[in-house]
């Protein structure tokens, strides 16, 4: 019993155990942080409506051109003016796209601002620029382009 009091080797074993346990705690904390960081970054990438906004913008641009072609086609057999026909078609388009976005809990708003022509006439195929207000909101992310200037004479 007396000899055990003088033997101090046990202190090293206890100290080593303490150090190893501290290292293990540190490693576990770091690994846990990495998993949490991975979850949040992935979740943010999934939640952010990047494609919705991009699609709203690019589809509106494409449709401004489609509506222009359809407008000129209708105008060739109708007495209505080009701006009048264009406004009617664009309103129809915006109602459909707003309804389809609403299905996913997103608010999209497309408003035609003006139909423009560099030479001042819009009764023929001279219309070359459309101004549209685009707004998007999904409860977290807000996007607005007021106005979006769309070249349709390409």
């Amino acid at each position: 019993m007396e000899s055990m009091k003088d033997n101090t080797n046990g202190q090293w074993i206890i100290l080593s155990g303490l150090v190893i346990s501290l290292i293990l705690i540190g490693l576990a904390t770091l690994a846990n942080q990495a998993v949490i960081a991975g979850y949040h970054s992935s979740n943010a990438a999934l939640e952010f409506p990047k494609e919705s906004i991009r699609e709203l913008n690019s589809h509106t641009r494409d449709n401004a051109r489609i509506i222009k072609d359809l407008t000129l086609h209708i105008n060739s057999t109708s007495n209505d003016t080009v701006p009048f026909i264009y406004e009617g078609l664009f309103k129809n388009y915006s109602e459909q796209i707003e309804g389809l976005y609403a299905l996913h809990g997103e608010t999209a708003d497309l408003t035609l601002v003006s139909v423009n022509s560099t030479n001042g006439t819009v009764n023929t195929s001279d219309i070359d620029m459309i101004f549209v207000n685009i707004t998007y909101f999904d409860g977290n992310t807000y996007y607005s382009s007021r106005p979006e200037i769309i070249e349709v004479n390409e």
């Binding site: 770091l30 690994a31 979740n43 999934l46 699609e55 299905l103």
Partner: protein
């Protein structure tokens, strides 16, 4: 006095070095990849699926046989019955672009103020970690006539169709 202290000092130094190096290596790692994370897989799948639809929609006519607008315009208005698809061209192109991925396709559109959602490609029930991507196309009487579809649109009518794709891996 004995020489045990020297050995203990060396051991302590070696242990301190090992601990320091371990902490440094871990803390200096700029990114710790956790591929087990299901959400990371979903992010990848969503991007892949979205890109596949974008490629079909925007590719030149020489790159793909039929673009997305042509595929949708050619629909005969008949819903798919598993395992048959009612949009075969789109099914062929997607199966080429998404190897190892299963997908269902629905078309959503408004007709006379009423919402219609039709299944056109069915590959089975979506798995637990499925993602949904979508793309919009606009069809007119002209595109439908060119593609030989059954949409029956008026001359002055345009219809926005949401191509809704649910994808999952098995």
């Amino acid at each position: 006095m004995n020489e045990k202290g020297q050995l203990h000092t060396l051991e302590g130094l070696a242990a301190a070095l090992m601990i320091t190096m371990t902490v440094l290596v871990i803390s200096q790692s700029t990114m710790m990849v956790t591929p087990q994370n299901e959400l990371a897989v979903n992010v990848h799948l969503e991007q892949l699926s979205s890109d596949a639809l974008a490629v079909i929609d925007t590719a030149d006519s020489g790159s793909v046989e039929h673009d997305l607008t042509e595929c949708v315009s050619s629909w005969n208005m008949m819903e798919a019955t598993y395992p048959a698809s009612s949009l075969c061209d789109l099914d062929d192109e997607l199966s080429y672009l998404l190897p190892g991925v299963l997908y269902n396709i629905e078309l959503a559109y408004f007709k006379d103020q009423n919402l219609n959602v039709k299944k056109v490609i069915i590959n089975g029930p979506p798995g637990e970690n499925s993602v949904v991507v979508r793309r919009f196309v606009t069809i007119t009487n002209e595109t439908v006539n060119d593609a030989g579809g059954g949409w029956n649109l008026k001359e002055d009518e345009l219809r926005v169709v949401e191509v809704r794709m649910t994808t999952w891996k098995v």
